[in-house]
Symmetry: C2
Subunit: 203 residues, 2 copies
DNA sequence: TTGACAAGTGACCAATTGGTCGCTATAATG
DNA sequence: CATTATAGCGACCAATTGGTCACTTGTCAA
């Protein structure tokens, strides 16, 4: 990703922090992995902690750049089919973008040891994702595509199970095919329950 | 919990592994915390790894003793109110039993670094919990209390969001009151959707 | 009483690890 | 061309940590 050494260090550090944890990350190996000596790191960062914070800053900036402002969010689908497609498309990104995968891994494994990780985990896993769909569902209800209900509750009921399966896939990536099927089945079931069959040609 | 030194070591080790991770766990401090010297640990276990495995063995045994056999499972509720009560009661245990909390924390933070943690996490967070409710919902459908649907799908749609909120509570226990409210609201909403209003006196 | 054994202690060891320092080489700058 | 800032290196340091060992103490059985 990054081209400067400073950026490359963050790339490598994200991988190592995610895979080995903060304590398990070894600056010698980290540097050696990119053909550097450990002391070279100290030209760019003050300490291990400094690298950790820089990784986090970059992570948060990345998150904001993708989901931060309302303009970045997808426009509400015009039909239930579009909702399905949109969901699977967002999921495809979420499940395969190396950086996002590592972010999740890092947040999960360090959430109890680092304050920033703790708060970011709640944002990323729970509230952030939910809010996106709250707006989408609210609009779809206004448009009569979705059954009238509490959009916030539906968004939660929709995103939480998907998030669980994404975590499952992070943990056991060899089961990806099966997991995607389960997500598709869940989304279809959800749409069958909450989609307005009058506007769509019934199930 | 345990009274023998061997058991006490496991109690302390579970706490330390959960809070500090495997790498972050220090045998000196672990021993000192229980008024022992580090070398005393080696009278009971061969190595740090040996302690880790013993903690895990005990965790799995504990899990099996609670959820392992069908007889241990709750009998299906006779009404939607009973389902609500049963769920909140199980939740009360899950959210407050110190050992179970530490187990979750351990599984979450070590799932990518240890094979046993990986598999046990999937069982504990996903399939195990879901299977319990699959049986319950199937029976409730047979009894006409619940709308006919795929019990496995409903169990997943029911347990996954609750599990997410339990994780949230592990992470930010100071928000427990709010989280319990959210769970109650979710369960009530779920019942409103899937409960059979003919058998119950409608909403 | 004696001998065996279980449980515990503190000193010690070797490996690892975050961090510092002085030195070098390259490239930009006056 | 001389100078200076930048980026890199390897040696070194002190602290930490898993693990070993010789030794002590108390208990129980023969």
């Amino acid at each position: 990703m990054g081209n400067t050494t400073k950026e490359k260090i963050l790339d490598a550090a994200l991988v190592s922090f995610a895979e080995n944890g903060y304590k398990g990350t070894n600056l010698r190996d980290l540097a050696a992995g990119m053909g550097l000596s450990k002391s070279a790191l100290y030209r760019h960062y003050e300490s291990k902690d400094d690298i950790w914070n820089a990784v986090f800053d970059r992570m948060e900036a990345y998150y904001v750049s993708r989901f931060g402002s309302p303009e970045k969010l997808p426009t509400a689908p015009k039909s239930c089919e579009e909702l399905f497609d949109m969901t699977m498309q967002m999921l495809n990104f979420t499940m395969h973008d190396k950086r996002v995968i590592l972010m999740r891994q890092l947040l999960l494994t360090e959430q109890f040891r680092d304050e920033r990780a703790r708060h970011f985990a709640t944002l990323h896993f729970l509230n952030g994702t939910k809010e996106i769909y709250t707006k989408i569902f609210a609009e779809m209800m206004d448009n009569g595509i979705f059954r009238k209900d509490d959009p916030d509750m539906l968004a939660f009921a929709y995103t939480a199970p998907i998030t669980e399966l994404v975590h499952y896939c992070d943990r056991e990536p060899e089961k990806e095919a099966e997991i995607i099927q389960r997500i598709e089945a869940f989304v279809k079931h959800f749409i069958k329950i909450y989609g307005n069959s009058e506007k769509n040609h019934g199930e």
